[in-house]
């Protein structure tokens, strides 16, 4: 429980004059659900983007599972075991739900051009396994009946679930969710909570950015608060909730 999976070391990032991240250091332990909260524009998404290689930090860096993460190599992050969803859902809209998840298997499979052309036994077996796994994952997030629908025709809640299924298809050690409950009603949020809890029980560490404070405080083992790009506090929910700086910066507002 106490082994560190991801460590951020003084990560800094600015956009022109905006200091989006000010030397943020935090550590996520294997097996926990870790919450990252903060007001709009606090730098939460930027933190995700730096970690997953979409942005190159100006300073600092990340250590993941004992080895540094390369900046500017998004596909490497997934290879190493970091999967993510996006605040503004990014699915492959004109592919079916099943195909979306199948794409998620890309990084854990290896068939190339020649396998595709000659359809040898190994390629066919791999393809069947990809399909099976994708099917299982659609069941796991409970949208199996939408398997053959185009991703962009799914309801908002189902799209969020599909994005999680696609991320899980990469066999992540760490699953990063960027405001998964945004726009969901109370029932959907409760179901999402159950799903996230299940994912953790099945052995995947979860990093959760969320606006819904109640959800975060109830679900997370530890919580970090960002404000104006700086880390305010990192502790268990009970302590964070009572912290004066947090109440001023965020909860009280």
């Amino acid at each position: 429980m106490s082994e560190v999976l991801l460590e951020a070391k003084a990560v800094a990032k600015h956009f022109g004059g905006v200091q989006a991240l000010r030397e943020v250091s935090l550590s996520i332990r294997r097996g926990e659900i870790y919450g990252l909260i903060g007001p709009n524009g606090a730098g939460k998404t930027t933190f995700f983007n730096c970690m997953t290689g979409l942005y190159v930090p100006d300073g600092g860096g990340f250590v993941f599972a004992g080895a540094p993460l390369l900046a500017d190599a998004p596909h490497r992050a997934a290879e190493r075991g970091i999967a993510r969803t996006f605040q503004n859902i990014r699915l492959f809209g004109n592919m079916t739900a099943l195909e979306n998840v199948m794409v998620g298997r890309h990084v854990r499979t290896g068939a190339g051009i020649f396998g595709a052309m000659f359809q040898n036994a190994a390629t066919r077996a791999e393809e069947a396994a990809i399909r099976q796994k994708a099917d299982d994952l659609l069941h796991y997030v409970r949208i199996e009946e939408r398997a053959d629908d185009l991703a962009r025709n799914l309801s908002y809640g189902d799209q969020r679930r599909l994005e999680i299924a696609r991320a899980l298809a990469t066999d992540p050690k760490l699953l990063c969710l960027d405001e998964p409950a945004a726009g969901m009603n109370a029932t959907e949020t409760a179901e999402l909570r159950e799903l996230i809890d299940g994912i953790r029980s099945d052995g995947t560490t979860v990093l959760l950015i969320e606006h819904d404070v109640k959800l975060v405080m109830g679900l997370c083992d530890r919580v970090a608060v960002l404000d104006y790009g700086a880390l305010v506090i990192e502790d268990v929910p009970a302590v964070v909730q009572k912290d004066q700086r947090v109440i001023e910066a965020y909860l009280g507002a």
């Binding site: 979409l54 998004p74 290879e79 699915l91 004109n94 794409v103 190339g112 595709a116 390629t123 990469t170």
Partner: protein, 352 residues
């Protein structure tokens, strides 16, 4: 289930009979029509190659004909009196395909960070550079023979069986173009099968994912750079093979055959037919290669019949008709004449 199987078996049977009979039907109108048929199939080949780049991976390539040129000149230089080399097909075609593939990688590596219009401009420039090279590589050492091109190129041959000239088989006289037809149809079927298999493979899905959302594709671990490069390399290899056959079939190549308009032609076939949809691309290639020829042969006599003399040069009317057809199709069928069901649905929804 069985009746569907039976029906598709009958369908394939009929198609096979039609494909076998076609060159004899075309020959009724003269060998010129068989040659037009040959070129139609060569264009199917080319269009399907470009479809991998444009249709599957969503990368706009305006210099595709350069790879065709590489393949064509490879054959011309390795099987003609120009260097006195006469290598067999199973040596030349792999070399041609590899060189074209290499050219694809050379073009792709520095440009794959670009998207859309920018990529189009760079590839357009690349196509022209290759053509200009071919035009000027006759001094100080004469490699390509410059604008005069290379003549007396060996035809395709398997052992002593040559594809040029007439041969008697089972009491049937087969002309050169007719023999090439069967070779080309065989190759085209192969390319269709490869295209279909690629489309529904791990790599094909990765191409589509990149086309849909490159950032999301990266986030699930697709090395977008390499996968895009793969599309370039694959498309280029097909272009190289088509170029080799072109060279052998013509017996003559010159840089003129590889101008920008040819790239645009092949791209039009892909777009007009239905980007990313293999049957559509085939339809586009057939229409755009045969209709202009039909017009060429139809317009002249028609004018003389109606007006008693030639009023407008058939060649310019042909291009006018071609342009008009393009505009009309893009206006009324923007997804192409035969788009994939998904794409069709997409546009229908966008309209409503």
């Amino acid at each position: 289930m069985t009746s569907r199987f039976f029906r598709s078996a009958v369908g394939i049977g009929l198609l096979a009979v039609a494909l076998i009979a076609l060159p004899f039907v075309a020959a009724l109108g003269g060998q010129a029509w068989v040659r037009i048929l040959d070129f139609a199939i060569l264009y199917i080949f080319l269009a399907l190659g470009l479809n991998i780049v444009v249709g599957f991976a969503g990368l706009l390539d305006l210099g595709y004909i350069a790879f065709y040129a590489v393949g064509a000149y490879t054959w011309a230089l390795l099987a003609s009196p120009h260097f006195g080399l006469h290598l067999p097909i199973w040596v030349i075609l792999p070399i041609g395909a590899s060189l074209a593939c290499l050219a694809g990688v050379v073009l792709g590596s520095p440009t794959l960070k670009l998207r859309g219009d920018y990529l189009a401009i760079v590839t357009l420039g690349f196509g022209e550079i290759v053509r200009i090279f071919l035009n000027n590589l006759n001094a100080p050492i004469n490699i390509t023979n410059g604008p005069q091109g290379i003549t007396l190129i060996d035809p395709v041959a398997f052992g002593s069986f040559k594809f040029s000239g007439t041969t008697q088989i089972f009491g049937l006289a087969l002309s050169g173009p007719q023999k090439y037809y069967y070779l080309l149809v065989t190759l085209a079927i192969l390319v269709v099968v490869i295209n279909l298999r690629l489309q529904h493979s791990r790599i094909g899905r990765a191409w589509q994912a990149i086309r849909e959302d490159e950032v999301a594709a990266k986030a699930v671990g697709i090395n977008t750079r390499n996968i895009k490069l793969l599309a370039f390399a694959m498309g280029a290899s097909f272009g190289g093979i088509a170029g080799g056959i072109f060279s052998a079939m013509q017996g003559f190549v010159s840089p003129e055959s590889f101008s920008l308009i040819e790239s645009i032609m092949v791209l039009s076939m892909v777009v007009l037919g239905g980007m990313g949809h293999i049957p559509g691309v085939i339809l586009g290639a057939v229409l755009l290669s045969i209709l202009p020829e039909a017009l060429r042969y139809g317009i002249g006599p028609l004018q003389t019949a109606v007006f008693g003399k030639m009023l407008v040069d058939p060649e310019s009317l042909r291009m006018l008709a071609f342009g008009l057809a393009l505009v009309l199709v893009m206006r009324f069928k923007p997804a192409g004449l035969w788009p994939s069901p998904t794409r069709q649905r997409e546009l229908a929804e966008a309209k409503s």
